[in-house]
């Protein structure tokens, strides 16, 4: 680990892009802002890789706030994230040059994009929780700006606001979690906390376990908000209001993975707290099931993918909860590839159809889009977990670890995996197969949009091979590399037979579900679905009424109470004025004594004089 000023430069490059494009972007010709922004992100990526190859780096400034340093660290874990954020982010930037072509806010878009990357890099590299928090809220801001990018439409503004406010609920958890750690350990530097809590990879003795659990739980609340877990999941589908590259960025490279990253980064808090970990597993499972169920009913091409993200994030949380932190990161990585690919091929379809997003008016794209169809197919299969594709390996690893944790969890997650395969096929079938049901003239995207997808397709195909299960007699690169820096308990390896059984079961389930989905949803394209499924889809489309429940139970009451209180606050003032009028009345009584008759006053004087002298002489 070297001390080097180059480390903050990784962050400063996109930040510079944000400032320059924000101030002068309007004066640039169209592709220039996009090229500048992409180049800067590529610069960050290269710099990150170079520094990582040199064995990591750190940089810090003491006492940024009293007792709190401004410090950054690049180790294997944050290095992996830097590569995902800047690498995938770069591809999305390039894609966006084509996608945002001709938009009035072209330079503004790339300025926000660079801000997003910069904030995410701060989050990833921060070695002090407040610094992480700077990035944490920074991505919140950037997502707010980007979701509401087309702000003239009220719905977009509302969605952006919703995302920001719901995220803030999680942020409060993060803030309070820091409060607990500060009160108990007197430091918020991650490396110092790690030394204090888990030196040598074992929990230190004599710790206040209740405080530790509280801190862990509160930070987890923060992760719930940012990673859109149940019950704070409502913002993520609405975030589709932004342009498609934004969705890709939020779902693949930045933002939602931050919660998972936070758990892994602070695994020293969680690894020996079974209670908190249980909650993480539970929340992850609920989210996975909920996301998968919601994905079936969506009619918006992007919302299907959005709910799939919800479900996949649930997988990652389960992985973190069962203690397989490296697996969570593994899934973050593979997911980044295929999710970016899915979004960007959705974007290509939307682009081809002149802005149409309703899958009921798509279909038959197989015949129109010769390159995007491959992207879409690979993305859907990887998401669905077709064996040998990247999604299969990471999901299989999660299933294996959860089997070790509890067969119940394994079974539920296996069901979700099957559902994943089903709805990913639904997406693919409705968009690409069958006959075209709309009236546009679809055309393939320009190469600036297809090339990033080519790269991502390769990633979706092969990225899984860095983390193969041990029974396949081939080197697992990722596990030892990440476990060097993640505090964790060593797992007993499952017996070879059991491991193979699990792999084969999950492979069979995936293949079977993919095939069944392929058949079943061709019926939907033709409008021949069983009645029970249609009813189920109606509920699913409305996300099982989560928004309505929240509005009725939380938002509306809060608003009406606010109105009541607002008027009541004038009552506070009136109360004080009433006090004043009491004084006034008393004063009025006294004022009656002011008769205006001089002799009356003189009489008072006389009486007072007599009394005073009396007091004087008696003493």
């Amino acid at each position: 680990m070297q001390e080097t000023i180059l480390l903050p430069l990784i962050i400063l490059l996109p930040l510079l892009g944000f400032a320059v494009l924000g101030l002068w972007g309007k004066r640039m010709q169209e592709p220039t802002p996009g090229i500048v922004a992409s180049a800067l992100v590529l610069g960050s990526f290269v710099l990150g890789v170079v520094l990582l190859a040199q064995g990591g780096a750190r940089w810090g400034l003491e006492d940024w706030l009293p007792g709190i340093p401004l410090s950054f660290a690049l180790d294997n874990l944050s290095g992996l994230m830097v590569m995902i954020v800047a690498g995938i982010g770069f591809l999305i930037h390039v894609y966006a040059i084509g996608y945002m072509h001709g938009d009035a806010g072209f330079s503004r878009f790339f300025s926000y994009f660079n801000l997003f990357i910069a904030a995410m890099l701060v989050l990833v590299l921060g070695d002090s929780l407040p610094v992480v928090f700077v990035g944490w809220e920074g991505v919140g801001l950037a997502s707010y700006l980007l979701i509401g990018f087309w702000y003239a439409d009220r719905v977009n503004g509302d969605s952006a606001r919703k995302a920001f406010i719901v995220n803030r609920i999680g942020d409060l958890g993060f803030l309070l979690g820091m409060g607990v750690l500060w009160a108990n350990f007197g430091t918020l530097s991650i490396s110092e906390l790690r030394e204090a809590i888990a030196p040598e990879g074992e929990l230190a003795v004599g710790l206040n376990n209740a405080a530790l659990a509280l801190a862990a739980f509160l930070l987890f609340v923060g992760a719930i908000g940012k990673s859109a877990q149940v019950p704070l999941m409502v913002w993520l589908p609405d975030a589709m209001a932004g342009p498609t590259p934004v969705s890709a960025l939020i779902h693949a490279a930045t933002m939602v993975t931050a919660g998972v990253y936070l758990l892994c980064r602070n695994s020293f808090l969680y690894f020996d707290l079974p209670d908190v970990s249980f909650w993480i597993v539970l929340i992850g499972m609920i989210t996975a099931v909920y996301g998968a169920l919601c994905a079936f009913g969506q009619t918006d091409i992007k919302r299907i993918v959005a709910y799939s993200t919800l479900s996949q994030l649930g997988f990652m949380f389960v992985a973190a909860g069962v203690g397989a932190y490296w697996v969570a990161m593994f899934h973050v990585m593979t997911h980044a590839f295929f999710k970016a690919l899915l979004f960007m091929s959705s974007g290509s379809v939307i682009h081809a159809l002149g802005g149409e997003q309703d899958v009921r008016k798509m279909g038959g794209m197989w015949n129109y889009l010769p390159q995007t169809r491959i992207h879409g197919l690979v993305g859907a299969l990887a998401l669905g977990g077709l064996p040998l594709l990247s999604g299969f390996w990471s999901k299989d690893a999660i299933l294996a670890y959860s089997y070790e944790y509890s067969p119940v969890v394994w079974f539920v997650m296996l069901l979700v995996a099957a559902m994943t395969a089903l709805y990913s096929m639904r997406w693919f079938v409705l968009v690409f197969l069958g006959k075209y049901r709309g009236h546009e003239h679809p055309h393939e995207s320009p190469s600036v949009m297809t090339w990033p997808n080519h790269v991502l397709t390769l990633g979706s195909l092969f990225a899984g091979f860095v983390g193969l299960p041990y029974v396949i007699q081939y080197k697992n690169f990722l596990e030892p590399w990440l476990n060097k820096v993640i505090v964790h308990h060593e797992h007993e390896k499952l017996p070879v037979l059991e491991e193979w059984t699990l792999i084969l079961v999950s492979a069979a389930v995936a293949v079977g579900a993919l095939y069944y989905g392929y058949r079943f949803f061709q019926a939907e394209a033709a409008g021949r679905l069983p009645a029970w499924f249609v009813r189920f889809q109606e509920a699913s489309l409305r996300s099982f009424y989560a928004d309505d429940v929240y509005n009725a139970l939380i938002v509306k009451p809060l608003k009406s109470v606010a109105k009541i209180l607002f008027d009541a606050d004038n009552g506070v003032l009136t109360g004080f004025q009433w006090l004043g009028s009491v004084t006034g009345t008393l004063g009025g009584l006294l004022a009656r004594l002011e008769t205006g008759y001089l002799r009356f006053y003189a009489a008072g004087l006389l009486v007072a004089a007599v009394l005073l002298i009396l007091v004087g002489v008696i003493r």
Binding site: A591, T595, G596, L598, R599, Y601, A602, L606
Partner: protein, 96 residues
């Protein structure tokens, strides 16, 4: 000593006058009476204590009384010109 008692009685009579008289001039006269009662007390004390300072103070009281009368009577004349009266019950500008 006995003059002190006389002075006290004079003072009280003056106070009675201030309260009972209804024209400004007579109220004023009563006040002069009270001032003289005070002077008498001073002179009596001077005699008892053998101090000339008290007599000096008496002189000052007389001088200040003269100034007071000059201004006071001026006021009465001025008020009379505006209100056509010297009755103090008719001057109620201080009413609250």
């Amino acid at each position: 000593m006995s003059w002190l008692v006389v002075s006290a009685l004079l003072f009280a009579i003056g106070a009675y006058g201030v309260l009972s008289r209804r024209t400004a001039i007579l109220v004023f006269l009563s006040i002069e009476l009270m001032l003289n009662a005070a002077n008498l007390a001073l002179i009596a004390f001077a005699k008892q204590w053998g101090s000339l300072d008290a007599q000096v103070v008496t002189l000052f009281v007389i001088a200040i009384a003269a100034a007071e009368v000059a201004v006071g009577l001026g006021l009465i004349v001025a008020i009379f010109r505006r209100r056509e009266t010297t009755g103090i019950d008719e001057l109620r500008g201080l009413k609250g």
